[in-house]
Symmetry: C2
Subunit: 219 residues, 2 copies
């Protein structure tokens, strides 16, 4: 488990900090806004009101000893850039910074961020790919309209075999079920004769247009 500092407790930062804490990492959450710090204090072991652009404060907090830092300050671009510079200066080995836009992101890369993320932009791409797939809850794009989708088995698929619904290499749509999550069990590469049960989470790989047609036909 790692020692991780999260600076900036907006919607993204709070979610990162809480999830890291649930995973079991040792998390320090920082924000200039007292209310933001308060809102997370029940869920995180250490949260403190502080300014991520203040080098003295960062040193006092022992930031140099952290394994990973996440700069999740959002629209305050200058603060996000300055904070990232300081973290690398203080020797944090791995710094993930969130960018508001491409220009901000390229600046972060230049000044040393090890990884730059664009939460809203990435979610926009994913949501756009599933607007026509109302049963799909997650979508991981791969290349040119092809991706991996996660869906809870809808009513019209229950009790049917995977191949009969149209999945698999013999199906006309070339959409494969690569994995089924059934309760706490994971079935990797299920047989084409596997019967879909209620609450099964299906992870399928295929062209998203074809997936839409397959589901439409199955209804």
């Amino acid at each position: 488990k790692k020692q991780i500092v999260v600076i900036g407790l907006g919607r993204f930062g709070i979610s990162v900090a809480k999830t890291l804490h649930e995973i079991g990492h040792d998390v320090l959450a920082i924000d200039t806004n007292e209310k933001s710090v308060q809102s997370i204090s029940a869920d995180i072991t250490h949260s403190i009101q502080a300014d991520g652009t203040n080098e003295t404060v960062l040193r006092e907090l022992g930031i140099s000893n952290f394994d990973i830092a996440i700069v999740s300050i959002g629209s305050a671009v200058e603060a996000s850039v300055l904070c990232t510079i300081l973290l690398k200066k203080l020797g944090v080995p791995y710094v993930i910074a969130r960018a508001d836009n491409l220009l901000h992101g390229s600046i972060l890369e230049r000044i040393g961020a090890d990884k730059v993320v664009y939460p809203e932009q990435e979610m926009g791409v994913r949501v756009a790919h599933v607007v026509t797939l109302s049963d799909v809850s997650y979508y991981m794009p791969l290349v040119a309209g092809y991706g991996v989708a996660r869906m809870t088995a809808p009513g019209y698929l229950l009790g049917k075999q995977i191949a009969d619904v149209g999945f698999g290499p013999k199906g006309k749509w070339e959409v494969a079920v690569v994995l089924i999550q059934r309760e706490k069990e994971i079935i990797v590469t299920p047989s084409l004769h596997e019967v879909i049960r209620e609450n099964d989470v299906l992870v399928v790989a295929g062209n998203s247009d074809n997936l839409e047609k397959l589901l439409h036909e199955a209804k």
Copy 2:
């Protein structure tokens, strides 16, 4: 292809609108802020400055004829709720609304949103799961630490067989390579003897702790 209206052109809304346009849908992008509308006009066929909470304007724009509406107004919670109410009132069959927080989301569900998304919160969960997996670019959580990760093959895996690296049912980590994207080709359920090449995108399924150990050992 569908007729889709996107209301609210923040970082999330712009990304949704542009991606939908690239996919080939007929997109109308709306925002009260002229600058936001201008920033997207080069990429989207139709973008217009308008107030999504103005029923008269929505009727004039023929919103009732749209297949899908996406309310991507962010922190202006009342506007987002009122806009969603109007879209359902005007008969838009499928309305996706973005929520700022859980309370906002539950209100949206109650007043008729067909799907509610939390872009920053969802991205926070995903990023948290891959902070310790620096080579992983996408993560789709499934259950209890288990998920599907996408990674570009790092240098230390090149030229090696999948099974030799530690993947597969015989590997001690129980992480499976479910798919390889190689150039424009997709290889579903690759053989354990498949040799990993430069630029291969690997989609792997397994416990994220075990994936981290597998990659660590492979280095």
